[in-house]
């Protein structure tokens, strides 16, 4: 609406309860006084209106009074500049802050990982306990089945002595090479705890190996090329003395063997067997030592061959677990951030808020493209390229969060941008306008804002956008009068 001088005089006359001529004279007198004072003093303050000043070019300017300016600017009162990008000089600090925040996030994630690892360790411990229990059960079962019972090898020794003769054909150097390694293993298995269950494994495997050897080896046949029995006895005696010297802990074995031999002798009741008892006993010792050494070394190598793939499988399983668990945590983390931001009651400073928004919605690129939605055929090539190059988590975030200009208002996103098209002081009218916009398909949001003057204004915004640029692009699609009369605001 435009009021010219005459219309203004008429209004003034009505306000003064006088005629227009008197009002005109009073108005001219007031104008002359203001102009004169401004010319003379350089400025003239009119209460309720502002201060007239004399410009450099001699013209008059007006500095409106703050209260009046606020009243006139009630639609946008209380708005503050939005920082789109941080200052260049402050960027390193911002980066540092971002890095520290990232570190804090990493620490929190590390804590989460630690918790997960703790859980995993607990599970592992549980598994270890289970394994230990299983091993204990296995031992008990073995004991029940006589696997670790010394009678078992003895029963195998009851077989023909072909096994005993085979180690004798091997060069003694091999035995000496094997002896040092073999000498410690039984000691350690008896004295120290066996973390890998080698002892149990050996005890389990050893009889089987013996059985295999027993099945595969041929029955004993006297070797015509074998050395004379006297030489053999001497060699056996030397070997036994050396063996006892190196393995004093095995000195008890011959006793057992002797007992067994005595039992055999009792069973057989044959004098020839009693005559060959020393040789058989010695041969059994050799068999026990050399055959056990051979079998144990083979067991060791087989155990190592078994343990390597098992360890590799375990490592792969752990890596896969942490990989998928990390993905789940990172995706959950995005959702948690949005929720947390919604719950922040204190308004965040613009700079920090922008940093948070940037960090929140610019995740690290994820090469995994399996979850990416297939490109729609109707979409123009450029958006398809954008969708292809857009990070996966970003696309997931877009799908998860109700951004856009159209659609129902499922959730008001704190920190998002909206286009304000109405700023009204009448609450009912603002609700009507909101309903009207929703009927047109817009994602309409209404909220109240208390102005510094104490007046409450009700603003109606349409759309929710992740960035200012998205909101600006949406404004270009708006019809008039919204396209030319709007403003972007961040939802707080």
């Amino acid at each position: 609406m435009k009021l010219n001088h005459d219309e203004f005089v008429a209004l003034l006359a009505k306000a003064l309860d006088s005629d227009e001529a008197e009002a005109s004279r009073g108005l001219e007198a007031w104008v002359d006084a203001v102009v004169r004072e401004t010319e003379e003093n350089g400025s003239c303050t009119v209460t309720g209106l502002g201060t007239f000043r004399k410009g450099d070019d001699g013209s008059m300017t007006l500095d409106p009074e703050k209260a009046l300016s606020m009243e006139v600017n009630y639609k946008y009162a209380g708005l503050s500049p939005i920082e789109v990008s941080p200052p260049k000089s402050v960027q390193p600090d911002a980066d540092k802050d971002a890095a520290s925040e990232t570190e804090a996030e990493e620490e929190s994630e590390a804590e989460a990982d630690t918790e997960t690892e703790a859980d995993t360790d607990t599970e592992t411990d549980t598994e270890t306990e289970t394994d230990t229990e299983t091993e204990a059960d296995t031992e008990a079962a073995d004991a029940a089945f006589g696997i670790s019972d010394p009678e078992k090898p003895v029963q195998e020794d009851d077989e023909p002595s072909d096994e005993e003769e085979i180690p004798e054909k091997k060069p003694p150097v091999e035995d000496t090479e094997l002896d040092p390694s073999e000498s410690d293993t039984p000691e350690e298995s008896h004295s120290e705890p066996d973390p890998f269950g080698i002892k149990e494994y050996e005890e389990e495997r050893f009889p089987d190996e013996l059985d295999e050897e027993k099945d595969t080896e041929k029955p004993f046949e006297p070797d015509p090329e074998s050395p004379p029995e006297e030489d053999r006895e001497e060699a056996d005696a030397e070997y036994e003395s050396g063996w006892k010297k190196e393995y004093p802990e095995h000195e008890s074995e011959p006793d057992d063997a002797d007992e067994l031999e005595a039992a055999e002798r009792d069973d057989a009741g044959d004098s020839s067997s009693s005559f060959s008892l020393p040789k058989l006993s010695l041969s059994r010792q050799e068999k026990t030592s050399k055959g056990a050494s051979k079998n144990r070394s083979r067991d060791k190598s087989e155990k190592i061959m078994w343990l390597i793939p098992i360890a590799a499988l375990l490592i792969v399983a752990v890596l896969l677990y942490f990989h998928f668990d990390g993905q789940r945590l990172s995706r959950t983390h995005i959702g948690d951030q949005a929720v947390v931001q919604d719950e922040i009651p204190v308004p965040i400073p613009e700079e920090e808020e922008e940093d948070q928004v940037i960090q929140e919605f610019v995740p690290s690129p994820d090469p995994v493209d399996e979850v990416a939605p297939p490109p729609e055929p109707d979409v123009t090539p450029e958006p398809v390229e954008d969708a292809a190059t857009e990070p996966l988590d970003d696309r997931i975030g877009d799908l998860a969060l109700p951004y856009g200009l159209m659609g129902p208002e499922d959730e008001v996103l704190i920190g998002a941008y909206t286009i304000v098209v109405h700023s009204l002081r009448n609450e009912r009218k603002s609700e009507i306008e909101k309903q009207r916009l929703e009927n047109q398909g817009y994602k309409a949001t209404r909220w109240s804002a208390e102005l510094p003057s104490g007046i409450t204004t009700y603003r109606v915004g349409i759309g929710q956008f992740k960035t200012v640029s998205d909101a600006e692009r949406a404004i270009e699609e708006l019809p008039e009068p919204f396209r030319s009369n709007n403003f972007i605001i961040r939802i707080r």
Binding site: M1, H5, L11, G26, W30, V46, E83
Partner: protein, 67 residues
């Protein structure tokens, strides 16, 4: 020193001006100038320190002196 009549006239003039400016009306007063309200759109502005800020829109009282 303004007398009571001048003060009263001035008060009524300011009241009329403010009321119409709040309605974004344009008022012309001979011998002084034209009062109006102009809309300033929101725009991005680069500060001296390099940061880019988007200033909010505003309705500003504008006075155009009479030549």
């Amino acid at each position: 020193m303004k007398n009571m009549t001048e003060k009263k006239i001035e008060k009524e003039i300011v009241t009329i001006l403010a009321a119409h400016l709040k309605k974004h009306d344009q008022l012309q007063i001979n011998g002084l100038g034209t009062f109006s309200v102009s809309h300033q759109k929101q725009a991005q502005q680069q500060e001296k320190d390099g940061r880019i800020v988007m200033n909010p829109p505003a309705d500003i009282i504008t006075f155009t002196p009479e030549k």
